[in-house]
Structure formats: C-alpha cells, structure tokens
C-alpha cells in the first residue's frame, strides 16, 4: 500500500516536472511607446545570454532623415546599464547577463508622436561543464541538446526580426502607393484649377467695364 502510494506520488511529480519543461517561447509582442515603455524579464542563471531584437513598426513619422529614432536601454537588477542603443529604428542585441535577477528593457521615445515597437527577448541557458561536474545527474547529451536548442532559437529570433521589418516595409509601401494616387490626382486638379483661374483673369482684363483701350 505504502509503495503504491509512493509510486503514485512519484508519477504525479514526474508529470508535473514534464509539464514545467515545455518550451515556452515568448512571441514578438508589440507595445506602443509614448515616452518611456519598460518591459521586465527575469534571468534565472548568471552568465545566461540574453538576446533579442526590436523594430519600430510605425512608418508615418519617419518623414525626414533627421528623425531621432528611439533609444533602447537594458538595466541590470543592480541598477547599472548593461546595454544601450541610441537613435535607431530597429536593431538586434545580445549580451551576457552579469548576474541573475530582474532585468529592465526600456524604450525611450524623444519624439512627440507615439510609436509602436515590436520586440522579442530571449534568455538562453546552456548548462556548462561546471554544472556537469557538480551534478552527476546531468547528462552530457543535455548540454548538446541545449546548444542545439539555443542555435534554433537564434534562427527563430532572426525570423521574427525579419518578419517585423517586413511589416514595416509593407506599411511604407502602402503609404507610398496611397501617396502616389492622392498626390497625382491633387496635381491634376490643381493644374486644371490654375489654368481655369488664368482664363478667368484674362477675361476680366478684357471685359467692357474696365475698358479695353487700357490693355
């Protein structure tokens, strides 16, 4: 009876363990940055590689080339800045976490208009030789699998970056298409209007009330 109970407990624990060993991947979320927008991510192990990318998806405000872009800062749990990127419309980043804890990823928008930023953050952990030596339950094959998983993650991250950039280009293209049609029609109308106004003006110059001898 006791052994069966222990077995049932063990089986339950195994299923719970399996449940927690899902591959949880965070997808590329977008957030609207008014002035400052911060996202937090917890890094479990010191020495983990934190990688990711972000792309500004809004297109309307990148009118001129003198747009300041947005700034990106990563703050460690100790409070010091780990990584900064200034004045970009999208970039990739990667750094090694100096310690474990809650990291803050902030976007600063120095422009008046709010912008939508699509970002992706991934914390990758590979158990290294030191952990292997410490814990004899850890199989070397797990290290290899972890490396493989991280490599695939980097490919996925790159794809998310490309997808966000593609969305941005699509917006630009749509905007260009609409502008071409709108501006051309406007141009034709203005041309016709200007010419009509010219004709009306010349007619008035030659009208009887003014006296055509003056012209």
């Amino acid at each position: 009876m006791e052994r069966r109970h222990t077995h049932r407990c063990a089986t339950g624990f195994i299923f719970i363990a399996l449940f927690f060993s899902f591959i949880h991947r965070i997808s590329a979320l977008s957030v609207t940055v008014n002035e400052v927008e911060c996202v937090y991510e917890y890094v479990i192990y010191e020495g983990d590689t934190v990688s990711g990318n972000f792309v500004v998806v809004d297109h309307d405000i990148f009118w001129g080339s003198d747009h300041p872009g947005i700034d990106f800062t990563v703050t460690s749990p100790a409070g010091n800045t780990v990584h900064t990127l200034k004045g970009t419309s999208g970039d990739k980043f990667e750094f090694k976490a100096p310690r474990s804890g809650m990291y803050k990823f902030c976007f600063h928008n120095s422009y008046a208009t709010p912008e939508t930023v699509s970002f992706y953050i991934h914390v990758g952990h590979i158990p290294n030789e030191h952990n292997l030596a410490k814990d004899e339950h850890l199989d070397p094959i797990n290290v290899k699998i972890a490396e493989l998983r991280e490599a695939l993650e980097s490919v996925t991250a790159e794809q998310k970056y490309l997808k966000a950039r593609d969305a941005r280009h699509r917006h630009t293209n749509e905007s260009t298409r609409k502008r071409v049609i709108f501006y051309t029609l406007g141009e034709y109308l203005l041309l016709a209007l200007a010419s009509g106004l010219q004709v009306v003006y010349i007619r008035r110059l030659f009208s009887k009330s003014v006296g055509y001898n003056r012209v």
Binding site: Y42, L138, N142
Partner: protein, 214 residues
C-alpha cells in the same frame, strides 16, 4: 515492483535533468494606476495562442491589486474579457490574420496607488504546443522528447521561412505596381498639362476673336 520502481526513478532523473535546463520565460509589464497598457501581436490565420497572466503583489502586507483584461481580434471581436482578477489564462485559435490586442487596466481596488506588475506568458504556434500530451500519447520521454521538440521547432522555422518568402513576393508585386504607376502618372500629368494649356489657348483665341481684338 523493483523493475518498475527503477524505471520510475530513471524517469525522475531525466525529468530533473530536464528541469535544470530552464526554458520557460515570460515578460513582466508594469501597468500604471490610471490608463491602459496594451500589447499586441500580428498573427497569421489558424495559429494557436495560449497565454496566462498573474498579478505580482508588490509587498505582502496588502492584498493583491486586481486588474481587468480584454483581448480583441483584428476585426474587433472580443476574445477574452475579465474584470477584477489577479490571475487567469486564455487560449484561442486565430480565425483571421491581423493584429491581436491584449489590454490591461487597473480597477479601483488598488490600495497602494503605484504601478501594478503583471507577469504575462504569451505563447503562439509551436510554443503553445502541449508536449505533455504528446509525450503521454506516444509514450516518449527524456532525450527523445527533447529531440521531438527540436524537430517541431525546425518545422516551425521552415514554415516561417515560406511565409516570409510569400510576403516578400507580395511586397515586390506592390512595389513594381507602384513603380509602373508613378511612371504612367508622370507621363499622364505631362499630357494633362499640354491638354489644359491647349484648351486655354483655344478658349482665349475664341474670346479675343469675339471681342474683335484679333
């Protein structure tokens, strides 16, 4: 009994080794005490989305502040709406491609008055796959399950690549069309200019002839 006990112990060992490679992460958002905080994602059609959110209490003296959440589809359909909760989860399969929005706001029950931290775990596509049921159904575990997951990831990468390729082809088509349109409209604008000025000249000539000036 001894044999099955050994198998169970081995299973436990594999699971522990599995747990030592953490794979689950979620982002934390801080919701201002007034106003809404929204996150969105552009998702294709027919993708499984699984998310769960938990309010993190700032200090342990107060009761957890409650939040409200609303998830909308790109066409405005309400997919999930909860008021005054501290945790919850939702899952849906996308029926249209577009921007899916999840908005959080704080109800009037926040005593602290500061920002509320919410832990959001948002998974789409392959990340939302239920590996536990796959492991149970096909009776695989440990290394084989890990390799299965990697295979799933590779398939997802392949699908994404094909999707990106089709999007790029679409965009190239739009660009080419816009390019052709710009050329055509410029020539037409020259034509309109010449036509309008010819009309002008003809009308003025008639006018002056009528006025007996020429």
């Amino acid at each position: 009994m001894n044999g099955s006990g050994l198998v169970l112990r081995l299973l436990l060992l594999l699971c522990i080794s599995d747990l030592l490679i953490p794979m689950s992460q979620a982002i934390w958002l801080s919701i201002p005490s007034s106003g809404t905080k929204c996150v969105s994602e552009e998702i294709q059609n027919n993708v499984v989305v699984l998310a769960d959110y938990v309010v993190i209490p700032d200090d342990h003296t107060h009761s957890s502040p409650t939040i409200s959440i609303k998830v909308t589809s790109p066409y405005g359909n309400n997919l999930h709406h909860k008021e005054n909760v501290t945790h919850g989860q939702f899952a849906f399969t996308t029926s249209e491609a577009g921007n899916y929005l999840a908005c959080f706001w704080v109800d009037g029950h926040n005593q602290g008055g500061g920002d509320v931290s919410v832990n959001l775990d948002w998974k789409t596509g392959i990340g939302a796959k239920d590996w536990e049921s796959v492991a149970r159904k096909e009776k695989i575990e440990g290394v084989e399950l890990e390799l299965r997951k990697l295979e799933g990831a590779v398939e997802a990468i392949h699908e994404n690549l094909l999707y990106l390729k089709s999007r790029e082809a679409e965009m190239r088509m739009v660009s080419e069309k816009t390019n052709a349109r710009v050329a055509w409209y410029s020539i037409m604008s020259l034509g309109v200019c010449i036509a309008v000025s010819a009309l002008q000249l003809w009308h003025l000539k008639r006018f002056f002839q009528k006025k007996k000036l020429i």
